[in-house]
């Protein structure tokens, strides 16, 4: 997208705007059958309104765990996460999550019902008719009109992810959480979905927290990138990428930043050769 620089507020304004999400020194741990794993260690970052904030790192850097923490599925053992000044304790409809897995759509509900289910149960709409109007609005936005009464198993992978995104946006959450939403798609569809996501963002500048393991995707989708190191996840850098988009893929600036992040991730010589390839699994 090209509106990057015009959409950017003045540098000095940063202090005036309050961050939406404040992650402060968060350490997350979880148990497996045999071990207690520390996924992230004292991670700090702030997400501001209209950010397309990307968590980037190789597999095992705890980025998905971090996102689950923000969503409220896990509680930190150390540090705090606050959303608009309130500490995050449990999952809630103010932070809607879009997952990588296609089965995130409820198979027993049609496309429209999946969205109205979220709206009525998430406390967004009291009336069914109101929910249906909102649902249709977002179905049109993701170009799925004519499919509103289809059951998810009839849709392709890309269409399913579109429904999930529509469902997330319809809830108008404070922050939309996306956990590698395009990783299970084929390369062409992924490109198309990235572009569509940016177009949708142009409309309302909603806030996104986006997890990916692809440097390129981070540069295209993100306006701000948090680079994490693996085992356990720690912050390596926070970089700006708002000036980059699909059009700049061939530019030297794009290549430079890509190489910089690449070096950052591989400096520790922890060779995660699936850094790029894992998406095609």
């Amino acid at each position: 997208m090209n509106g990057g620089s015009s959409a950017v507020a003045d540098n000095t304004a940063a202090a005036a705007v309050e961050p939406i999400l404040d992650v402060d020194g968060v350490t997350l741990q979880y148990k497996t059958k045999e071990h207690l794993i520390t996924a992230t260690y004292r991670v700090d970052f702030k997400v501001y309104p209209a950010d397309r904030f990307v968590l980037l790192g190789p597999s095992g850097c705890g980025k998905s765990t971090l996102l689950k923490g923000v969503a409220g599925y896990m509680t930190p053992v150390e540090g705090a996460m606050t959303l608009k000044g309130k500490v995050i304790k449990e999952p809630g409809p103010d932070r809607v999550m879009v997952f990588q897995e296609f089965d995130q759509l409820l198979p027993w509900k049609t496309v429209k019902q999946n969205i109205t289910f979220a709206l009525t149960n998430g406390g967004k709409c009291a009336k069914q008719s109101e929910a249906e109007d909102i649902a249709m609005h977002y179905i049109n936005k993701v170009k799925l009109d004519r499919f509103e009464d289809t059951y998810p198993h009839m849709l392709s992978g890309g269409m399913k992810q579109r429904v999930a995104i529509a469902r997330g946006m319809a809830m108008e959450p404070d922050v939309l959480l996306m956990d590698e939403p395009f990783a299970a798609l084929d390369a062409l569809t992924r490109l198309q979905m990235q572009e569509e996501l940016l177009q949708l963002w142009e409309d309302t500048h909603f806030t996104v927290l986006f997890v990916t393991h692809s440097i390129e995707e981070a540069l295209i989708v993100g306006s701000r990138i948090l680079v994490l190191s693996p085992h356990p996840g720690q912050v390596k850098a926070e970089l700006n990428a708002h000036q980059l988009s699909h059009e700049s893929v061939g530019d030297p600036a794009f290549g430079e930043l890509k190489a910089k992040i690449h070096n950052m991730l591989f400096a520790d010589r922890i060779l995660e050769d699936d850094l790029e390839g894992k998406g095609q699994q």
């Binding site: 959409a7 045999e34 071990h35 520390t38 209209a50 053992v77 500048h205 720690q234 926070e238 970089l239």
Partner: protein
Amino acid sequence: MSKNVPELVMRPEFEAGDIQDAHTGDVERQLSIFERVWNINGVRKIVILFGLVATWQIYTVALDVEPLMFPSFTLAAERMLNDLFYGDLIWKIWFSVKVLLYGYGMGMGIAAVLVLWATASRLGSDFIATATAMFNPLPAIAMLPLAMLWFGLGTASLIFVLVHSVLWAVALNTHSGFKNVSQTLRMIGENYGLRGVPFVWKVLVPAAFPSILSGMKVGWAFAWRTLIGAELVFGASSGSGGLGWYIFESSQNIETEGVFAGLFMVILIGIVVENIVFRNVELKTVNRWGMQR
């Protein structure tokens, strides 16, 4: 609807110089021994089993329940061991198992022939669909009166109803399993020049194995239930002895601990077949091939 959209907030970039070592304890820590032992399923289940048996024993002894109505665990266990080692319970079990194996084997054989016919011709396929739709919902035990009429009071009648209980369940599942084998796998088989019986044996059977296995499990469950039921009915009408007959005899003689001893054996055999025999077949085939979780 986008009048007042928020704008991007610019802020300086940031790079961590040197990442310090994490020191909230370990990145990976082993759970304590107690946590790990308690995490073993077998341990928890055995504890529960002991709890159940203890409750039973305490209930019967403490409340002084009439043993004719509900004997204590020790009484029933004692009776079981006694009859196993000094009585003829072991022979009765053998009698039941033998009849069951005959019936199961014959049922499988007939099912195999029917399904082969069904894969070879559409008439066969239609026949099997009609016959299973009709006979599968018919409890095999209901055929017992007819079987007694046709084959008299003997093992032949028992085997007849057992065949009936196994045949349709297995044929139904195998047939639908074959129908659902993916077109790709069929084409691969034909690509290698497999036709006829080798095609069925080398492509269809392994590809449909999850379905066949589930048919065999359902067939076993029905056969086992039918056999025990038939022996109970037989008990009422004649009196030749298997495990079901042992239970019936004990209850007629109001030896309740004998009934429980018989039930223990029924459960034991059931567990051996379902959790050892079938479980192992599953582990070595469909689980290993990743066709089933």
